[in-house]
């Protein structure tokens, strides 16, 4: 399948496995755009610019699977997640859940979908109300959606606590009495309460110690198996994303750079940014680190208020040419790739190609 995918021409789910399994699609995002107005200072505040946080992103999350969403600061991944969850109104574009349009629904209409779409947040210290007891926090979904009261609710909450590895006797404790890893588990329990179909995980392990990260990652993996959950897993740590996801979306400055099943993307990245990101991700393996190609980008990640013209990556791209500054590349399958591996690049990375080399003398790995 070649050529750009547009909502009109897309009759087939962009990522078929064997056949057209559109009923397997849980969430479909089409051309989502989210701009934040920048207000000028003055007596009457006018809008002098737009933060183009998300600028036309399409993706699909399939039932029971994990889609990893990676990118650096300013790529818009958190904003995208919040638009999907209905926490931020999208400027344009569509979000479909199980085929139904849930874009910018008013709160009451969105309410039933909230049972199926849940979120886990990054900050274990900020995501729980410090003045509420843990049992009350985890029981919130039951209270809000009126699905269980009194003793039944307490029992359900304690079962959840046990399921995520907390002691159910701590029902009456406050968040401050738990460690960071445990608080994250509380957040997981809260998200799990109504047996959602999709959990959006916004950097759930970034703020945790390494040894605790593994605990939470294993927990998430187990829950996925037991409950058939789908995850939209947002992270900046590429190795963590590789570990948990089946498919990966790489975002840069509000646009999708590359998308596809994880092995093709990680092993043969086509977008220079993906390649640079992979080379920059520190792997806890000296031989792997020494043998990989070091692509050092120039400059910092630009601001989403005034993104570069054409391909947004072109100012830092080691392969940039004139065309890249003027023409926005489309998301399409590049020659030799699987139909599910798409890239937005005019000059994708070819097999065996050497990109910019760093000026550092290589370090030997064995001593």
């Amino acid at each position: 399948m070649t050529g750009p995918i547009t909502p009109e021409t897309a009759q087939v789910d962009p990522w078929p496995t064997d056949a057209d399994l559109t009923d397997d699609v849980l969430v479909r995002v089409e051309n989502l755009v989210k701009h934040f107005p920048v207000k000028g200072s003055g007596l009457v505040s006018r809008t002098i610019g737009q933060v183009q946080a998300v600028d036309g992103v399409s993706l699909t999350v399939r039932r029971g699977q994990t889609l990893g969403l990676v990118g650096e600061t300013g790529c818009g991944k958190s904003t995208l997640a919040r638009c999907i969850a209905g926490l931020l109104p999208a400027t344009s574009g569509k979000v479909y859940f199980e085929g139904k349009d849930i874009t910018n629904l008013p709160r009451r209409k969105m309410q039933p979908f909230r049972r199926d779409i849940q979120m886990i947040f990054q900050d274990p210290y900020g995501a729980l109300n410090p003045r509420r007891r843990v049992g009350s926090i985890i029981g919130d979904p039951f209270a809000i959606h009126k699905t269980a009261t009194g003793a039944a609710r307490k029992k359900a909450v304690q079962e959840l606590m046990e399921r995520v590895g907390l002691n159910p006797e701590h029902y009456n404790r406050f968040p401050a009495e738990f460690s960071g890893g445990q608080r994250q588990r509380i957040g997981v329990a809260r998200a799990l309460a109504l047996r959602p179909k999709l959990i959006i995980c916004d950097e759930p392990v970034s703020a945790l110690d390494v040894s605790i990260q593994a605990q939470v990652l294993n927990l998430l993996a187990d829950l996925q198996k037991d409950f058939g959950l789908a995850y939209l897993f947002i992270a900046h740590d590429l190795e963590v994303v590789r570990h948990v996801s089946e498919s990966v979306v790489v975002m840069y400055l509000g646009k999708v750079a590359e998308v596809g099943p994880k092995n093709p993307v990680y092993d043969t990245p086509r977008h220079p940014y993906t390649a640079a990101l992979l080379s920059a991700a520190p792997a806890a393996d000296p031989e792997a680190a020494a043998s990989r190609q070091r692509i050092i980008l120039s400059g910092d990640v630009p601001s989403p208020i005034n993104p570069p013209s054409g391909c947004r990556f072109h100012p830092r791209c080691p392969k940039a040419q004139e065309r890249c500054a003027t023409e926005v590349p489309e998301l399409e399958v590049k020659a030799g790739d699987m139909p599910t591996h798409l890239t937005t690049c005019h000059f994708p990375v070819q097999a065996g190609e050497i990109l910019a080399r760093s000026g550092r003398a290589p370090r030997g790995e064995a001593r």
Partner: protein, 364 residues
């Protein structure tokens, strides 16, 4: 002769809740031109360790020695220490926004530091040197940017500015405390690349403090893994990653996705880091250790050589040959545990196994 040789450093702080033993007898050395990575999680004492070396952690009770270029840093008077700080030992902190003064221009901060240490340098000369340093660290248009304030720099640029400041006096040793934790991956790669390049150019020694084993795998020559205020293991980079002896090091590697020791299913270290006020008896890691034996509850292990070369040290009661993830090593561990584990430690092992995250991966 090492550039810096720390012997038996101990630091403790009295607090309202009790005495916090932040550092409990740590020794290590750094040679010129080499990089040592100090790895540890929260509460391991790694930050207090280096802050104490430079007198930046007041209020603690310090003992031990830190010989730098013939002088003991821990017993120097503040004036002497101030002379060394910046000129001979430079520090790069984690968050450049809070370590650069927000109200003064970046160029001014650099030139002030130069002039504070080299009295003969004029303002103009110092300014020129500041511009040159900013250029060396890769800040574009340094002549314009030297007059900017820190908030006008992006995160990566700020960190580069901090490095420029650190290097402006050509120090012999740089202590970098989590310099890239707050930065994006691609920017982190740039900064690490820069640090290494500059180190190779000027032969500076580098102490890199981090919790990220990936950073260590990239740039360190030697590694010291800290746990609960003590060194758990000290070795060359290769040995740490491919022949880890201490169960904590091994546990860390097994819990990081795609590390040298990880498998498909991560094996997390169960439990939490210990309180530094109420430390466990014997080996501080024993409440979380898969291989806990009776001896671990009562005797605190000291660093012993576990390889013939003498450069690989581990503070563990397991036999020296039990290093790495090979089957043979695991068999040695199992045998040691079978003989060394009786009722006391068996109960602890059971408690560890009962934790939900353990998934039965305890040597019974």
């Amino acid at each position: 002769m090492s550039l810096l040789e720390v012997s038996n450093l101990r630091v403790s702080f009295p607090t309202a809740d009790g005495v916090v033993q932040a550092v409990r007898g740590v020794s290590f050395s750094v040679d010129s031109g080499k990089t040592i990575g100090i790895v540890g999680e929260s509460g391991s004492g790694k930050t207090v360790l280096t802050q104490t070396l430079l007198g930046l952690a007041p209020g603690g009770e310090v003992s031990g020695r830190a010989m730098f270029d013939g002088a003991d840093l821990l017993s120097l008077d503040p004036a002497h220490l101030r002379r060394i700080r910046g000129a001979e030992i430079a520090v790069i902190f984690q968050d450049p926004l809070t370590s650069l003064h927000p109200l003064y221009r970046v160029g001014w901060q650099i030139s002030e530091m130069i002039r504070a240490h080299e009295k003969s340098v004029t303002k103009k000369q110092a300014h020129e040197r500041a511009i040159e340093m900013l250029g060396r660290v890769g800040i574009p248009q340094p002549r314009q940017r030297v007059n900017d304030y820190p908030h006008q720099f992006s995160g990566g640029m700020r960190q580069r500015a901090m490095i420029a400041m650190a290097l402006s006096l050509s120090p012999k040793l740089i202590i970098a405390d989590e310099p890239t934790t707050a930065l994006d991956a691609t920017v982190q790669a740039q900064i690490l690349d820069l640090l290494l390049r500059l180190q190779q150019e000027s032969g500076t020694a580098l102490i890199m403090i981090t919790h990220d084993l990936g950073v260590v795998a990239d740039i360190a020559d030697d590694v010291m893994v800290m746990y609960a205020g003590r060194a758990a293991e000290k070795a060359s980079k290769h040995d740490i990653f491919y022949a880890a002896h201490h169960p904590y090091t091994k546990g860390l590697l097994e819990s990081i996705p795609n590390s040298s020791a990880a498998e498909d299913r991560l094996k997390p270290i169960t439990g939490q880091p210990p309180s530094l006020i109420n430390l466990p008896s014997g080996c501080a890691f024993h409440p979380r250790c898969r291989y806990v034996m009776d001896r671990c509850l009562t005797d605190q292990p000291n660093l012993v050589q576990v390889s013939e070369s003498g450069t690989h040290l581990s503070a563990c009661w397991l036999p020296a040959a039990a290093a790495g993830t090979a089957e043979a090593a695991e068999a040695i561990r199992r045998r040691a545990v079978l003989t060394g584990r009786n009722a006391d430690s068996a109960r602890i092992a059971e408690a560890i196994a009962e934790r939900p995250e353990a998934e039965g991966s305890v040597i019974a």
